[in-house]
Symmetry: C3
Subunit: 387 residues, 3 copies
């Protein structure tokens, strides 16, 4: 595939987007796999999904497959889902319970067995193995961490801990480190998790999340309850340092009904909507009565798996006054509207005439370009130095 020509120069003051091949070229995507995704924390799933010892789940990460297991000591651990003997994939289901009463992972090919902490515990003819084999041939560990009630994995192993990076960024957006803590995300109960197969590059999805210039034309149901969004300026523009305000008597719901019971830890001033990107592949939406987490798993240059979780305070769903489906439906509708738009962009980015521009309401995206180019070790064009 050829790089598309540079296209016409945008009028002075408009900021050009990244070239189309950054979104469509599989070689570029392979570089991102290596330099962006493998080196950063990927959000795998809610830790509560693995409630008992021996429960596992499998997380696909490009050609890699990560096996996450809760151990007998109740710790969550992650490993490469590869037998150390001949390389067979150990677990092929998305999730389940390990065999032998939850005590071990056994390879179906030659019967090598591993403890839930990864140690090789049994293999036919193991007595014949040379010294050290049993100790050295445990499952290859993958770095794992719990944060916000989620399990995150890091294939590279060099990334700093999440609170130091994503946590510090979130604190900067929210104005204080304590504010995110007040939402108590780790203790919330997930009411819904919807998976979307999106025919678009992960960056297009991120850029869509970062601007609200599209909200008026694309999301009439959303702007009905969040009138500020109709202005084109979302929460990341600096226009709303305290978050976007809901219309009087309205909450985040398809019917427009008022918000449900407030999350228990919030202070009186916390009642707005905040949207944050936890670079590179997770988003966070904080509202007074629920929290949503978006998890992106890039599959190829033009395809991304997106999972959206919606979480409420424990007991929330049982409240007589509150319909969680009303909230979930507005988010699902909004996500589907966004997907139609980003899939059209993905098509257009292959065009020889493609050259996107950012209007002022979208300038928060420039910060995302800086992050991406920084991860790739590429020089920063002057147009991206400010904004």
């Amino acid at each position: 595939m050829m790089a598309p020509p540079a296209g016409p120069t945008p009028p002075e003051g408009l900021v050009p987007g990244l070239p189309g091949r950054y979104y469509t070229d599989e070689d570029h995507f392979a570089r991102e796999r290596r330099l962006v995704f493998a080196r950063s924390w990927q959000c795998v799933d809610r830790a509560e999904a693995l409630a008992e010892p021996g429960r596992f789940l499998v997380y696909p990460a490009g050609d890699d497959s990560v096996l996450v297991i809760r151990g007998k000591d109740d710790r969550l651990r992650a490993f490469h889902n590869v037998c150390r003997h001949r390389g067979a994939r150990l677990c092929t289901e998305e999730t389940g319970a390990t065999g032998a009463l939850g005590k071990s992972v056994r390879c179906m090919y030659h019967g090598w067995s591993y403890a839930l902490d990864g140690r090789l515990t049994a293999a036919p003819n193991l007595a014949d193995l040379p010294p050290g084999a049993r100790e050295q041939l445990g499952l290859v560990p993958v770095r794992a961490q719990e944060w916000l009630g989620y399990l995150w994995v890091n294939l590279d192993g060099q990334a700093p801990p999440l609170p130091e990076t994503a946590g510090r960024r979130a604190a900067a957006v929210l104005g204080s480190p304590a504010k995110l803590d007040r939402y108590g995300v780790g203790a919330l109960r997930r009411a819904s998790s919807i998976t979307y197969d999106v025919a678009a590059n992960w960056k297009v999805i991120t850029e869509n999340f970062m601007e609200c210039y599209h909200c008026a034309p694309l999301h009439p149901q959303l702007t009905a309850v969040l009138p500020q969004f109709a202005s084109g300026y979302g929460t990341m523009t600096g226009a709303a340092p305290d978050g976007a305000a809901f219309a009087a008597g309205r909450g985040y719901s398809l019917s427009g009904r008022a918000a449900g019971p407030r999350l228990p830890g919030l202070e009186p001033g916390d009642g707005q909507l905040h949207a944050l990107v936890l670079y590179p592949t997770a988003f966070l939406v904080l509202t007074p009565d629920h929290v949503a987490v978006y998890r992106l798993n890039p599959v190829s240059a033009g395809r991304t798996t997106l999972v959206v979780d919606t979480m409420f305070a424990p007991g929330h769903a049982e409240s007589d006054d509150f319909d969680p489906d009303d909230t979930i439906s507005l988010r699902d509708l909004t996500v589907r509207q966004d997907i139609e738009a980003v899939e059209r962009c993905q098509l257009g980015m292959r065009s020889s005439a493609y050259q996107g521009v950012l209007v002022p309401a979208e300038h928060a995206i420039i910060g995302f370009y800086r992050d991406v180019l920084g991860s790739l070790g590429e020089p920063l064009p002057p147009a991206y130095e400010h904004g």
Copy 2:
């Protein structure tokens, strides 16, 4: 993929075909996309398909998508089907009417709107845009031209006008510039348009069209009405400067019934069949009672979309003496027979033993090879210097 070995040398006097990789290799196809298709006029559709202002159609051209619209001034214009803001594909249906009572093209993502002549007319927050944005951010135009009642587009924009190239070639084949005019192709009425998905390279389809050496074994129904074709020598060999003669009392029809009413502008000597290649991707068949146009849209090295239109004089279809389906059926049958043959060639061209040869009855194809190699800027082998 490896280039196949050169293969055995053909006997003296037989002319070798192009190497197999010219037909099967995707990298070679990408070069043709750039140097052949993008630089030449592509036949999009009958201009009458866009009858009213605001009617549009979308023409796929590799990674590009071309949007053709009839303006309020009744002019047909073509644009890249890409929003100038963030690159979203503007129209996703094959054909339709633009919105707002046929007055504008509106991008569903952020609501940017374009007049039917391409000017940017409205965008949310447009007042905030820097000076010049409105003027500079119109749709990117694609060069377009009407000829023979068809709309043609040229992505490169450097090609000379169609009458200067295709028209002059057609005149050379037909013996005079006036003869093509006498068929009045622009005023004919399309009775049928059939789309074929062909698993073969566009050049194999062209070569098949250029020789009649296959007519006797492959097309018994065709040679029944055009006995000259059974000789193996078609109209492009120099054997029939005045076109191929129909059998006495026969016309171009599956039943063999006599030709229908003559096209109104023809002179007495115009009563034969002529077949012309409008290089690179359109063919023309002229007969006394109808005209057919073949339009090729190359999709990949091994796949081509072929559309065949059949057109009669206005009023023809209503004549009691004439059955247009009889004509259309013979062409459809003939095309399907050809498709089976060219798809077998496409398979064989991947073989390490492939080396095609042209017999004397096929030497008109040498001229096509010269055109292709010329477009690609490749040196002409001595074997292709004559013929």
Copy 3:
């Protein structure tokens, strides 16, 4: 695709497998196509499948297609399945009878006809062809040979005859050249031929066939009749020079019933099971009452067509005491168990953490690695010099 990192060094004494990219990379596969498969004998089918003159079959070999025909002189010949004129694939069915009462192969495109021995015999306008064309434009021959009742083809044409290579290797495994002859494989009757589409590299399938370390965990039905296999040491380890012994009163069958009537030529000491690899793409299993042949046709790095034939002595199937389905079912079950395992390995070999190791019971596979690296012209790592 990137080469996976080297991974951790295996404990001393364990032998590392080939790198993952040898199994997953399409460029590496293209090298194997050229240097391994094209240069060796490929087992096409049972010669009896082409019983009468004019019967043909088509064998796919990557981008090549080989046409095997029985001639009027009863000889089997192989040709490239490509017309010498324009390259059309001559025969598109898998098997059938040639036209014109079994006397010729006729290309459907332009009617060129070839005798069953490949000579060009007729072409429209052949009189116009230059001198020598008729003689020089016969079908391009492919080297073919019958051995063990099978037809084998060799695209390269340089390989030594099969008995000199595969035959000598088989004799070395069996202890004498005469032993293989005593099974009379050429005269056996095929009772079953099952085709499996395996999502794994051909080498993974071969390595699975070469070790029995997996037999206890994966094949309980097989080890029930062949208890030696439960030890993890198969017939290729040197542990069983006379073959693997059946349990007393048991034969190769799903029910465990005793073996059927012995193959007629066997001597009293020949009553064990032998498994042999006929490098690169055929396997042989010899038992007292039947012979199985495995034929691999590699399609891509990650896909292989596997055909397994089971053959008995003539008259065997009619015997009242014997149920061939009982034998065929055990093999089919065993093959399906193996396919699940090798497909899991194929998935794991893409992992960045992949590094397989061979335990002592699997060291016969080192000889296979030597063969592969030798075919590829690659230097032999010290770890593969012995074993």
